[in-house]
Subunit: 315 residues, 2 copies
């Protein structure tokens, strides 16, 4: 059973970790990560979503913050701040190591796919973690304060600005990574993790050729709604959906994914939305979707797989 | 009274610090640093001698090791090692910050002079610290084990190999930094700090145009012998002098510098060498040259200045 998970940051990484825990053979899992949040800081290439997946699947993640490495220290950043001014983006000492080694690899001419695989291997991660593309893509957010780089909007200004529009710079000429295409081509099940549909799953789907690869894949495709009770568990998904004219609900998520996925998993608190989502032509499964523990992650992973397999049997 | 100090690593940085302490106006001091030890590691540009001067003049230096920053931690390097294999070169977390910010500046197109000045300013250093050249120069050491990069010879193999030859890759096309030339041109006193004459002061003198600038400078030029009692206080100077056929003594140092300097300061234990050194046409001053404290540094600085001024008055 080959499984592909599309993931952004914290929520996506948690469910990906659930699959790693739930699968008999974790090597059957490929995580396709969003890279449109990637940016350069202090001359280093930072891939926040890939890193969150790397740290979560390797057990290094800081469960309190959702980003970075548990117990990390901040001596390097403190000294960088002495040279370059007060930091606006937190980077721990161990986290810096990831960016240093990645940047060295990229400058040497290795692809982001190869560099990410090498980092994952060093951390003992069995599933494949592949970027959506080896080409740089940058999410830009239009706000009343002007057009902002994603990290400036998200971290620098704490996603407090109204979102008027989102676009992905470089997406038109980006190519999907071969590793992502190959994983989709041979997948039995594809899961869109509970990540932001606009700026996490959105860029992955926007890479030219990715939607076609999803359509051509023999896999059953299901998503887990990141919106629970009309709110995002983490991050700016709710404001973004609202700002872009989507309903801020599991239904709104379903409407965005309709035509691409076969079924949607929604939380119990959203059970009443099921008929409207089914009217979009999607199957619905209602369950607990909030992951508070590793057991929750594995349970939601098993539920997602069982749902997809049931749809496959029905279809 | 404008002073220029030529310095390599630990010994040179100590005396440069002495001048900073001894001068009425520390801004009258320019330290010209050796950059032939510079190398790339993990994609970062590392300038060991400039860094030792930066850390020493800012009071950050680790007095126990002679390199790096006092109290530095090693979380970044430990994690880098997890990705890239066991490190052979120690880099502390705060030290990493220096290399990250420097590398960012160089990649942006700033000169090493500009980047170094910016680092020094951020650390509150008043004297000017200028690289001998903005162009990359790399010391290579010929040994029975083959030709080694300097850091591989010095750190990686703990300078245990016999030295058969030394050369400075890139020196023929390197240009002296304008800041170094200007400082030499306007100097009243030039001091060769007690640094390795082969691989610390040697490369500075070997930059095309540097010897001419020294010759044309109106300054009185004195050196402090780094060889005391036939031994180097630190590092491989003794083995190198021996390997290259020089006498391992203050006389050997004098013979290398003869024709460039006006006088040499030697340690009391080497007083008996004075007549032979004077026979080379050099003035000699005998004093305590081992710097164990900040007071020792300032005292040797004052002694060096007084010696140079006496030579100037005599000349």
């Amino acid at each position: 059973m080959k499984l592909v998970a599309l993931a952004g940051g914290v929520g996506g990484a948690k469910l990906a970790h659930g699959f790693q825990l739930a699968l008999d053979n974790a090597a059957d899992l490929t995580v396709i990560g969003n890279t449109a949040d990637d940016f350069d800081l202090y001359g280093l290439r930072i891939c926040p979503d890939l890193d969150t997946v790397l740290y979560t699947l390797s057990g290094l993640a800081n469960p309190a913050t959702g980003w970075g490495i548990e117990g990390d220290t901040f001596a390097t950043l403190e000294m960088v701040g002495r040279y370059a001014g007060k930091p606006w983006f937190q980077l721990g000492d161990r986290d810096f190591a990831t960016h240093i080694v990645r940047t060295e690899g990229l400058r040497r001419g290795d692809s982001l796919t190869a560099v990410t695989a090498s980092l994952a291997r060093a951390l003992g991660i069995v599933p494949a973690i592949v970027p959506m593309s080896n080409d740089p893509v940058a999410t830009m957010v239009n706000t009343p304060a002007g057009r902002l780089d994603f990290q400036e909007y998200f971290v620098g200004r704490r996603h407090a600005d109204e979102v008027l529009g989102v676009h992905f710079e470089g997406i038109d000429t980006a190519e999907p990574s071969q590793a992502a295409l190959k994983a989709l081509h041979t997948a039995d099940v594809i899961v869109f993790c509970p990540s932001n549909p606009i700026v996490s799953i959105g860029p992955i789907l926007a890479v030219p050729g990715m939607r076609e690869a999803l359509k051509l894949s023999p896999a059953t495709t299901v998503a887990v709604s990141p919106i629970v009770g009309g709110q995002a568990l983490k991050g700016p998904a709710a404001q973004m959906l609202a700002g872009l004219g989507h309903e801020v609900s599991a239904y709104g998520v379903a409407a965005i994914y309709a035509g691409i996925i076969d079924g949607l998993i929604i939380d119990r608190v959203d059970a009443s939305l099921a008929p409207r989502i089914e009217a979009l032509g999607l199957q619905v499964h209602v369950t607990e979707t909030v992951m508070r523990s590793n057991d929750d992650r594995a349970e939601l992973a098993r539920t997602s797989l069982a749902f997809a397999q049931r749809l496959d049997a029905d279809g």
